[in-house]
């Protein structure tokens, strides 16, 4: 089970040191990829900059290939990793609300953190907004509870739920990503340039 077992045996303070190191790398890569700029991020919705789609899709495909390859080699066991739970309607409605917030503000929480780190006041206001949003949700929790806890399908992956072969699925996902990259490059050539 690789390092996982090692981490479980070391004191939890080191877990937090590891968290800072991982966060440092995460923040560095996001900022260097231009994700501290809301105008660059919003480009994906208007066709003048597809960096979000490219970085996001590349990362997901690389991670999926890497994790399943490490599983194949026996370094990790995919079945023991934490799978984000599926709450069907919570995922859809929550995602839809996040989508509107994304276009309105041009940030998602992670990108806003790196943007606030380089002094952008709009990102700091946005993070304040997120905290107000969490507060509203928590105060009205009884209202949201049925949606939050309903339609739970388990911590499922497409492999167990649709009974797919993970290798074929990742292969098709990779092809889909490459096609999306080619298509978005064609779109970008036809869209009026926006400089920011």
């Amino acid at each position: 089970m690789g390092l996982l077992t090692l981490i479980n045996t070391i004191p939890y303070e080191w877990d937090n040191v590891l968290a800072i190191i991982i966060g440092l790398a995460f923040g560095f890569v996001l900022e260097s990829s231009g994700f501290s700029s809301s105008r660059k991020l919003a480009g994906v919705f208007y066709g003048y900059d597809f960096a979000v789609l490219k970085v996001f899709f590349t990362a997901a495909v690389v991670a999926a290939i890497g994790l399943y390859y490490m599983d194949y080699l026996g370094f990790i066991s995919v079945g023991q990793l934490y799978v984000h739970p599926t709450y069907l309607w919570g995922g859809i409605i929550g995602g839809a609300i996040m989508g509107v917030g994304f276009v309105a503000a041009g940030f998602c929480p992670g990108t806003a953190v790196t943007s606030a780190a380089i002094g952008k006041i709009d990102a700091m206001v946005y993070i304040g907004g997120i905290m107000i949003g969490v507060f509203i949700f928590a105060e009205l929790y009884s209202l949201f509870q049925p949606l939050y806890e309903g339609s739970f399908l388990g911590n499922i992956t497409v492999v167990d739920y649709f009974d797919l072969n993970p290798y074929w699925f990742i292969f098709i996902l990779t092809i889909a990503a490459i096609l999306a990259f080619i298509l978005t490059d064609l779109i970008r050539k036809r869209v009026k340039k926006v400089f920011y």
Binding site: F28, S33, R39, T58, G66, M70, Y87, G94, A112, G133
Partner: protein, 175 residues
Amino acid sequence: MKNKEHNRHIYWNPYFGGFLLGLIIIFTFYTTGRGLGASGAMKSGVVAVVETVAPTHAEANGYYSKFISEDKSPLNTWLVFEVIGMLIGGMISGGLSGRIGWRVQHSPKITKRRRLYFALGGGILFGIGAQIGRGCTSGAALSGMSILSVGGFITTFAIFGTGFLVAYFFRKNWI
């Protein structure tokens, strides 16, 4: 501005950035068994504030009480430390490229005030949505997709699908 043309090239190639981000996700799963996140740290911040200001209210509330424990502060979570790291990492990257400075970034077609109102409103929506969807673009969509979680794909499509649907109404802010 003269450096506008320049600006397009100061960021990394997106495939390079995405590749490194993918490696970070693999490393995170390998060492901790979980993926990355961001909005969870902001939730912890809210829980900590409410617990300090109104402890009885926080314990009575069905949502805050999930994240309060006797023996440690709500701020003592993995994601809070990860986000502290993100701040440092972003600052190093921005500092190396000379991008640090106080400013409000907005399209020249809109005012600073309008930009801040929309940033606040978008933040509030994202905060609510990330609670309902149990994670944001990092935790639910990106880390979820990496591990082929059904919910990860659903949230990803919901976020970006809705984004494209409503983009028309917000176009003045961006183009």
